[in-house]
Amino acid sequence: AQSVSQHNHHVILSEAASLELGCNYSYGGTVNLFWYVQYPGQHLQLLLKYFSGDPLVKGIKGFEAEFIKSKFSFNLRKPSVQWSDTAEYFCAVIRVNAGGTSYGKLTFGQGTILTVHP
């Protein structure tokens, strides 16, 4: 069965610090990868996604992530965080079937709470 692990449970940064949140998955086949963000009191929102092509993907609000297939990793980065980035971040994986489609379930990591101090 596939699984996703996020390395940090809680990250605390000051504004303008750089951010990197680790995500590793275990599945040998083709996957689609996602980062979702959940701001306090809000729903899960898609931050960015990787389906194929350039392994460096850019998302909303200055976030980017790099897919490194050999390391089964999809780490999230932001060069300079803001107080408004305080939220919980979830990495998620979905298997791609033989036909190249991904209608199935998302498997989530346990989430990383990011607290940014002004």
Partner: protein, 115 residues
């Protein structure tokens, strides 16, 4: 931007009672999902639904759980006889059918508290 909406936002129910959680997926979406998150734990997949039938379910989704799309717009999750361990945040998600690469869009969740 269209959204997935869930009601109620918080449901408190006595153990053993039936509960129905409601979701209105994005209108042209074809794939529907329920996930749950027990406090402090991962978001877990429960069930996926397509073309009026369950396409996949997890081991959590036992005989006490059922899903229904009664009227072409709502997508409901029913728990027949709730247990304390059913207390969790339940998320509904939907996905479009056009194109191979579509993300799942999530609702705000329903917090279910079993007493």
């Amino acid at each position: 931007e269209p959204e997935v909406t869930q009601t109620p936002s918080h449901q408190v129910t006595q153990m053993g009672q039936e509960v129905i959680l409601r979701c209105v997926p994005i209108s042209n979406h074809l794939y529907f999902y329920w996930y749950r998150q027990i406090l402090g734990q991962k978001v877990e997949f429960l069930v996926s639904f397509y073309n009026n039938e369950i396409s996949e379910k997890s081991e959590i989704f036992d005989d006490q759980f059922s899903v229904e799309r009664p009227d072409g717009s709502n997508f409901t999750l029913k728990i027949r006889s709730t247990k304390l361990e059913d207390s969790a945040m339940y998320f509904c998600a939907s996905r479009g059918g056009q194109g191979r690469h579509q993300p799942q869009h999530f609702g705000d969740g329903t917090r279910l508290s079993i007493l």
